[in-house]
Symmetry: D2
Subunit: 347 residues, 4 copies
């Protein structure tokens, strides 16, 4: 039984509280928040859980094995590092941190303390993404040609982060999970409308180049009158469309594509034909991704396993977010992730 | 009655032939194509229309007032300029030309000959786009925040042009019609998969920056397993969604958005609220856009009017296409359209 | 503050418990169920609420003003009548009772005791149905021509009731709310597949005739592979489509219809033309219908008001359900509701 | 080469003309219509086809092997029988005739003359229906539980037939093709709104009972503000949904259903569980059903084959249409098809 304290009782905290309270492998020992009133309200259904207002106090508690951090993004690193150094296992809300430097510090602290560091990339634990991963790994879609995601709606404005840091972690973590490598470069575009004074982007486009023909593109938007969650994975053999708003057929696998013939036709260049085939929508069991995530965290601690969404994957996502941010401010200037990596590594 | 010859009996030619034959203001006199067999086949239902294989022959014919050019894009300029110089009015398939230089030459030739030069940006003559123009011009959507279009499907591969030159003219001409000005800069991304040898992009993203907060983004794709035609115009007051695949409600006007409050809340920066309101789908009469386009061409000739889609609008679209092409080859490098324009104008 | 006891902690009970506990005008005093273990489980988040296993005990409690009954349908009448006779106000899960005789007994008991009797026709308290009622009452849709509802899905099999008693109360209560009168007759068709031994219909069609051209038809089905909730109200001027699965635009008002011209054309009979117009989707605020229902129950008790869904409306729905059942067993034989009514009234 | 004359150049005639002109196995020799002006207009693209205004004249022509009749429904029998007796093969628009007596006369005339009599139940020759037939015949959907079709839209009013005779032949012919037997009885409901004077129903519901648990229900409607073409085939193992308005995935096969367990649970009766599985949308090639129908007619004449949609199948459809009509006029009174059949046969 892993004894857990949740830090932060704001927007997302209650979801973690509910899941840690329900998970058979974890015991919710305490919840920490500076706002005593909020704490009382959130803990009403959990009379046995302790309310703590002072984070430092948690660190000395021997009866707490792990902490789950759901505080504003810029506090992830100081809180997370302190907890790791105090010997706690750490789960952090997405994104892992507000900068690459912060994220790297967290990864290093976890390694030094030999503790589990995991980031709550919730979608990775969802039925559809797990199923897509199986299909991609089976090889049946062939070479990856493009990944395209549209994640737009009338958004809940954040005052500390822009639409990229708010929405893109979902797409970037799914992409990282499916592809398993960093893009060579990123160019991003954005604009501020609602909150120009605060310079907070509400519309943004990310274009990631993987150097081998794979292009990934993400449209994130807080101003869209309609809600769209449309994710396409285009392959040489098959393609997958994942529509998270579709009530029952969330994933569809299309046996459609282009066929490049070997017969060289002198005049016209390469011969291309079309293949239209069946569509298959595999059944995806309905599970609560957060419940699976929480249970996976406990399992990793108990069995010394590497989390699916470990600190390194969190760091990779933050690396792209930071580059996207820099690119937007440079009006779409191309940021090379690989070079950046080498420079940092060499340094 | 405007006497017309259609040049090119390939993919698009028969559509022009059918419409010029049916239009009460025009008389289809001749069709010109090098391929005699194709000509015979295409003209079977039109026994009174002359078949001509030699373009030069058309130029001397005093009984031909105008020509409609539906040939490969790189031949638009030589054929168009020759026709204009021979005193013919000219309608050209989109895009107007294969390069800015070619397009400029056509515009100049039309001015010198004092003849109508019009480009077939068909969508401008469609019911939905005409209705959207009215709504945008009425001012009810407020400031333009973003324009986003997804135009993807399993594509008909062209051997002379890539997906940008094939599909983006539709979106760029609609954008030009609605906004009426050129973007400051463009960055574009693309990749070749099916036809790598010929270096023909089949997936591309265009990002246009208008310098005043308006962002326009277009996704064009020949490899998508699903067909999408989704065009969003995001405004400060209302937003429009135009779905060309929706059988009856193609346009929807959303009275939804964000509201920036004047009450400055010290801590959180600007206060933002949400407004959700009614959705209104105006009835759009079903008309064949091509019929309206052909009739407008005749009207412009007869009454000396400026076409809605004149040579200048065709040139503006080609300017962006060429810049997009250069940006793709520069891996998303930002191409400044305004500077480019000034340099060309200064030259 | 109305002091309430909920009777029945099974499938629906916890929803009532949650809403009575949250409603500012009610105090949840006790929950009654024969199954002590179930009671303990359900009441865990409500330490202040009393668990009672003996229904009789409730009746003598002076600190209980009202009971909410969520038990199997055949127990509604005995429990409800006993509670009314003990001076309690009564809320009953839909349908009000398992037979017309039972429902009549409840209505009479409420009148005799001068207590509120209300049935939980939840949909009547939903945003969309409230909005549709306003539109219908405004007269803008003109004469009612037809009402058609499809309510089908892979169903949760009940062992005591068939698909008609399970699903049709929703449609019948909405129809009753909108139209406000009983149909002249009903014919119904059904079949048993999954549970032939128990003679429980899983597919059924109800056809209601209002004698003045209004036809209402309902398709209820537990065997459908797809879920559909599609409700059409066809009028002479406008029509309404209510799709409860549509995430945002649940109601659409269509300004489309037929126009009967007065010009008599001898040969062809009446001249008919088509009118296609705009579509309008009014914004419907998202509220929890159950919260509004519970609050309305309290208000009716406090202010001596007639509930929107009073015993009479519950009785009208049961009258149709019982007639539908008889018609199904008579293989679609027509059951006259009006005559039935007169005979009963005369008796 | 089968030499064909088309009779009737009204609404549907031009479609037959176009297809007989294009079919390699047929030669369109003549078109017959009383309206000379209409004939001239329709035959403009077919200079080689003879225009005939007198039907009788056709009968004597030895160079005409077959006639295709696209005239008002009440003329089908007299024209068809005359043509058969003159030794012509006959194709008739749906429905085969306006009454069972007429249809029987046509079937008998065809048998006596030993000529092909075929009815244009176009849907039977469409890709989706052909594919559904294969799936149903393969047995993989198990026992047929229910067939439900919704075929509604703002309709094209007919002045000679009601919505049942206009739209239901499509559904009844598909049902007949898939199931291959007549229902035991039918009950139908309808109402006249737009054309009350002429007593022409514009909304109707048909309920067919097959006596073995299979229920078929059809909703046909000319007053619906929205167009729906939704056809469900519910089976014990799998179910099929055929949505004719779905652009690409017209057929979906659902591996979902209910499972009746053998474990008898005393209290609750039969144990029922749910099975949710994959969805599969087979690729259906896009073909023009009318082209296939015309070609099949020629093939049946040339090879002496029985048409898929022969006179008998047309008669079965008319039998149900006539019974539906009688049932509507008897306010849903149940019409027994089998008895009806026996009485007629005995007579």
């Amino acid at each position: 039984m892993i004894r857990v304290a949740v830090i932060g009782a704001g927007y997302w905290g209650p979801n973690l509280i509910r899941n840690f309270a329900a998970c058979p492998e974890t015991e919710l020992v305490a919840v920490c928040d500076r706002d005593q009133q909020r704490l009382t309200q959130v803990l009403r259904p959990y009379p046995g859980v302790e309310a703590i207002t002072d984070f430092e106090q948690l660190l000395d508690r021997a009866d707490i094995d792990a902490v789950a951090i759901a505080t504003p993004v810029n506090t992830h690193a100081p809180l997370g590092v302190a907890a790791l150094q105090a010997g706690k296992h750490v789960l952090v809300e997405k994104p892992l941190a507000g900068s690459v430097a912060d994220a790297e510090q967290m990864v290093e602290a976890a390694a030094a303390a030999n503790r589990v560091l995991m980031v709550d990339h919730t979608f990775i634990y969802s039925g559809p993404v797990q199923r897509i991963k199986q299909i991609v790994d089976s090889g049946e879609i062939g070479d990856l040609y493009f990944v395209d995601s549209v994640r737009i709606n009338l958004g809940m404005f954040q005052h500390d982060v822009n639409v990229v840091w708010d929405l893109a972690p979902h797409d970037l973590s799914i992409l990282d999970f499916l592809v398993g490598r960093l893009p060579r470069s990123i160019s991003a575009f954005g604009a501020c409308h609602a909150n120009e004074a605060a310079d907070i982007e509400d519309v943004a486009y990310l274009n990631l180049d993987f150097s081998d023909g794979l292009l990934a593109s993400f449209h994130v938007n807080w101003l869209s009158p309609v809600k769209v969650r449309h994710f396409i994975i285009g392959g040489s053999e098959k393609s997958i469309v994942y529509d998270d708003l579709e009530p029952t057929e969330r994933i569809k696998v299309y046996d459609r594509g282009i066929t490049v013939s070997d017969d060289v036709e002198a005049k016209r260049g390469v011969m291309i034909g079309y293949r239209t085939g069946d569509v298959w929508s595999p059944h995806v069991p309905q599970v609560e991704p957060l419940a699976k995530m929480v249970s996976h965290f406990a399992e990793c601690i108990q069995q010394g396993k590497q989390p699916l969404t470990d600190g390194e994957s969190g760091l990779r996502v933050v690396r792209i977010l930071e580059a996207a941010q820099r690119s937007i401010k440079a009006q779409g200037g191309r940021i090379t992730i690989w070079d950046d990596l080498q420079i940092r590594r060499a340094a």
